[in-house]
């Protein structure tokens, strides 16, 4: 069963016909080719599919597609301004927070939310804020480094 929804994706207004059975993850990946949005578990346990919905990091795998109607959605594809990387993208590279890269886009979205909050966070607080993202490569250390560094810039 299809339904027409309208939402903003990375700053661009879109009208999309979706199947009501689709998750936002499926809408973004399969219909709109936003393949930065990764599926790691399908049940909201790993955070690889996190996107910003109205500025808040949420798991798109447990978000109904129809609910995206009227929302402002951002993915990692929209972080850079042309060739210019965002502060968090740069700090993830410089801090060595990227290994296999599968958890990276989701983490970047949460890091971006923190950056845009304008607040400051201790390393402990950063650990809490990124605790919805599982990563098996880094032991989180350099991810915390990256977020800390990005918040300071």
């Amino acid at each position: 069963m299809t339904q027409r929804i309208e939402f903003t994706l990375n700053g661009k207004k879109l009208t999309v016909d979706i199947n009501i059975k689709e998750s936002l993850l499926e809408v973004l990946r399969d219909r709109l080719h936003m393949t930065s949005v990764k599926q790691g578990c399908g049940v909201g346990e790993c955070g690889a599919c996190a996107v910003l919905i109205d500025g808040v990091s949420m798991n798109s795998c447990i978000y109904p597609g129809p609910r995206a109607h009227g929302k402002e959605i951002r993915t990692t594809e929209g972080l850079a301004d042309g060739e210019d990387l965002s502060v968090m993208q740069r700090s993830f590279i410089e801090a060595g927070a990227v290994q296999c890269g599968f958890c990276t886009p989701g983490l970047l979205m949460t890091a971006t939310e923190l950056k845009e909050s304008g607040k400051s966070y201790s390393r402990e607080e950063i650990r809490r804020e990124i605790s919805g993202h599982l990563c098996r490569c880094t032991g989180y250390h350099k991810i915390v480094d990256a977020v800390e560094k990005g918040l300071k810039e």
């Binding site: 059975k21 909201g44 605790s131 919805g132």
Partner: protein
């Protein structure tokens, strides 16, 4: 892909009730963090999802003229943990909200959904048990009010009839005024976990006397539960170590913990005593008892 037959948006409570009526396949979706997972597991096949997340009336936290606290069931845990009124009046609930899942889950999941799922592990439930919360259940025929302890009927079973909607969570002034409260989630991980045992404590003291102590546990039985006998035994007693130990012993007797592969009965009973003692000590300003017990 979720195996659903339709997805219906309700803009108001009335609209939601209308959509729920005469639709046995209807399932309410609020935050969605639970029902979508169950759909993925193959449950509720062909459900008609009624999305109530857009009903603004159901997501307010406010005090009425009688100082009764109203918590809109669509309050997300993210909003609850940051809500000043909740932090002030029911700090235990704010603490519970802050340890649900992880940030993404807290941004989506709602307190109403947490309760209506009927899970004994619901982090928000124990504090609501302590606060004698009442639930307003609305149907086209009107409203009925159920105490939270009566609402829970068994694992995953609640007193929510077909066509009914949870529209308000109420806490009377007598159940928060003068109390301090805390929630301790004991789980293997510090985030993204389900409680091995959850424990909410509320206490009202005067001088060094425990005027009233309330305690409720999640995962200590098929539903969250209070320990009325232990609470009664401490009423009006002086705050001292003997009484803390007594309290710890008494709560264990009242619980109906069970063995499961997630934790043994013996361990849960032991933890129940430790958390009772530590929780009470923390709220009465005794020692460094909160030290890493919880998340």
């Amino acid at each position: 892909m979720y195996d659903i037959s339709s997805y219906l948006n309700a803009g108001s409570t009335d609209e939601a009730l209308e959509l729920l009526q005469n639709r046995p396949e209807a399932r309410i979706i609020a935050g969605g963090t639970d029902i979508l997972i169950r759909l993925r597991e193959g449950k509720h096949r062909g459900a008609a999802l009624v999305d109530i997340s857009g009903i603004e009336d159901l997501s307010r936290v406010w005090l009425d003229a009688d100082n009764t606290l109203h918590i809109g069931p669509l309050q997300s845990f993210r909003a609850l943990e940051r809500n000043e009124l909740i932090k002030d009046l029911l700090p235990g609930l704010a603490a519970a909200a802050s340890v649900v899942g992880g940030p993404q889950v807290r941004a989506a999941a709602t307190i109403g959904g947490n309760i209506c799922n009927g899970a004994t592990s619901a982090d928000s439930a124990s504090t609501l048990f302590c606060a004698n919360a009442e639930l307003v259940l609305t149907s086209p025929g009107g409203e009925r009010i159920v105490e939270i302890a009566d609402f829970y009927k068994g694992p995953g079973k609640v007193d929510l009839k077909a066509g009914e909607l949870l529209t308000d969570i109420i806490v009377q002034e007598k159940d928060y005024r003068g109390f301090t409260g805390h929630y301790m989630k004991f789980s293997q991980r510090e985030a993204m976990d389900i409680a091995t045992l959850g424990c909410a404590v509320m206490v009202r003291t005067s001088e060094e006397i425990l005027e009233e102590v309330r305690i409720a546990y999640g995962v200590a039985g098929p539903t969250p539960r209070r320990c009325p006998e232990a609470e009664m035994a401490l009423k009006g007693t002086p705050l001292n170590r003997e009484n803390l130990d007594l309290f710890a012993e008494l709560v264990k007797k009242e619980l109906l913990t069970r063995d499961s592969w997630r934790g043994s009965k013996e361990y849960r009973d032991h933890l129940a005593g430790v958390l009772a003692r530590r929780g009470l000590a923390k709220l009465t300003g005794q020692g460094d008892c909160d030290h890493d017990t919880e998340n």
